[in-house]
């Protein structure tokens, strides 16, 4: 199991670094985060905090991560390599898990480049280490959820672009859509919507507040979408 997942993840990662899309996404992401850092954090007289950067990043990733994950399964269907893959002694869970891990490693690499901003921040006297640390833990959990949604969307179709659009759609609903709705609705609806509000959970992290409910929220939603991906992959055999 471990050996196969490792082998598959390595291949996945190699494919990410091979694809021009990943580089374009990475470049745009870096330019955007750099710009946000300049305009919102490096402002004389303002508090030196990464918070606005992280919150904006969470929104940029709604569009960026689907572009990183759209290839994962859709491309296997489109090129037919799914047939050689699924006729090797590999389980559907192993395939989904390695697609997820491959994209996660790439995402973490991307995230690590923003550590540069932390160093700059420290030169000018930063807020506490804890806030930044938990902010990044939040980014990691948020990324895991986004990637799992992306892998799920990629399992639904053989067209990469459609996979990206579906993933962005789901993420937009879970973040901006839910936020918008919970403002409109009151009562019980508000608390239900509040629970699935991804950005609200994330904002706790960016403030340095560690809430176990938020951790459980991210982990359980990630697991849920990975589970759905496995089911979708299994169901393809029955069609």
């Amino acid at each position: 199991m471990i050996n196969r997942v490792t082998a598959l993840t390595q291949r996945e990662l190699a494919a990410s670094f091979f694809s021009p899309v990943a580089y374009i996404v990475a470049a745009v992401f870096l330019v955007a985060t750099g710009y946000l850092f300049m305009t919102y954090t490096l402002v004389p007289g303002e508090e030196a905090t990464l918070r606005p950067l992280l919150v904006y990043m969470a929104q940029i990733l709604i569009f960026a991560i689907p572009l990183l994950t759209m290839r994962t399964l859709a491309d296997e269907f489109a090129t037919g390599t799914i047939e050689t893959l699924m006729t090797a002694p590999v389980t559907d869970t192993e395939v989904v898990l390695s697609k997820f891990l491959g994209a996660m490693v790439f995402y973490v690499a991307l995230l690590l480049t923003t550590i540069l901003h932390v160093f700059i921040l420290y030169r000018y006297g930063a807020s506490g280490f804890g806030v930044i640390f938990w902010g990044y833990v939040g980014m990691l959990l948020l990324g895991a959820l986004y990637v799992s949604v992306g892998v799920f969307a990629s399992a639904l179709t053989r067209h990469q672009l459609i996979a990206a659009i579906i993933a962005t759609g789901i993420l937009a609903v879970l973040t901006l859509g839910v936020q918008g709705l919970s403002i409109l609705r009151g009562g019980a609806w508000r608390s239900v919507l509040g629970y699935v509000d991804v950005l609200r959970h994330f904002e706790d992290f960016s403030k340095g507040i560690v809430d176990s409910r938020a951790i459980i929220f991210f982990l359980s939603f990630t697991a849920f979408f990975l589970f759905l991906s496995v089911k979708v992959l299994e169901s393809r055999r029955w069609r």
Binding site: T6, L8, T84, M86, A88, P89
Partner: protein, 317 residues
């Protein structure tokens, strides 16, 4: 080695294969023959656990394809129809990756890659990216991948499609070599290929087995036509020919004064000698007299045409 019982697969309301049953012994090399869309690929995909059957059962090396899928997959080497490969990798990387998936350790992988590189002539391009390879080279890489773990059963879907004539010959030769150590099931819509490589052919059309047996057995069932080219008075020759014992039908076409007769004969009768005597007695000239074909090709065309007719009748009724 491979046992298929009453296998049926439906895609929505279209039935791809219905009630297929056959059995393949260890060490056999069997050709799975049929026109495009007959259900060959569907059957192979069920056997390789790529998709489940709608009903019926199948087992490979004693393992059920549905319940013991991982075990089945580890004893099978499979070359899918279009040979899908990972374009981004080099051949060696790809084989190494596939070896890892098969659970081979580092040494076993190195040995296995060397072995299949020799077997499938991968040496010249083993360090080139797969995306740069020709169709024939890719086909060989796919075959190498299928052989990597020295599988008991080899399942090859149209292994020679897209190859040039030299490669086709080499591939056939290779498959025959492989049959000494592996049980081989290969599909094809080219009869000649099955005739040349397989001990046994299973012919399917419209999702059903229409014939099965060794190429020679299948040919024995054939009643070939007789071809005679004679010059002389057309009507007279035709009349005389149709009176020869065993002749049931005579068709003629004329070309430059020579009449080419296509003579249908009753089963088991060979009236060639009588025809020769007839021609000689009448003082006509004869420049060709032979039994036509008896090839699997005709058999195949006839059987599949019959299938199409039955289908047409069913549809009308």
């Amino acid at each position: 080695m491979i046992r298929v019982q009453n296998l049926t697969k439906e895609y929505g309301d279209r039935r791809a294969i219905s009630g297929l049953s056959f059995h393949i012994q260890e060490g056999e090399i069997v050709g799975f023959l049929g026109p495009n869309g007959a259900g060959k690929t569907t059957t192979l995909r069920i056997l390789t656990c790529y998709m489940p059957a709608t009903s019926g059962s199948a087992s490979v090396a004693g393992f059920d394809v549905f319940n013991e899928s991982l075990k089945v997959r580890s004893v099978i080497g499979y070359l899918p129809e279009s040979t899908p490969l990972d374009g981004g990798m080099r051949v060696r990387e790809y084989l190494n990756f596939r070896g890892k998936l098969r659970g081979l350790d580092r040494d076993a992988r190195a040995t296995a890659i060397r072995r299949v590189a020799d077997l499938c002539w991968l040496g010249d391009f083993i360090d080139r990216p797969i995306s740069q390879l020709s169709k024939g080279m890719k086909q060989r890489v796919g075959l190498g991948d299928a052989l990597l773990h020295d599988p008991k059963v080899l399942i090859l879907d149209e292994p020679t499609v897209g190859l040039d004539p030299t490669q086709i010959r080499e591939t056939r030769h290779l498959i025959q070599e492989l049959a000494k150590r592996h049980t081989v099931l290969l599909s094809s819509h080219i009869l000649h290929e099955v005739e040349a490589t397989c001990q046994r052919a299973i012919i399917i059309a419209g999702g059903k087995i229409v014939a099965s047996g060794s190429p020679n057995e299948l040919k024995r069932d054939l009643r070939g036509n007789l071809i005679a080219e004679v010059s002389g008075p057309d009507a007279e020759i035709r009349k005389a020919l149709s009176q020869v014992r065993g002749v049931s039908e005579v068709q003629a076409e004329t070309n430059n004064g020579w009449h080419r007769f296509r003579i249908k004969t009753q089963a088991q009768d060979d009236p060639r000698e009588d025809i020769f005597k007839l021609v000689k007695a009448n003082g006509w000239s004869l420049r060709e007299l032979r039994l036509e074909g008896g090839t699997l090709e005709e058999y195949f065309v006839r059987i599949t045409a019959e299938q199409a007719q039955t289908k047409g009748r069913e549809a009308r009724s």
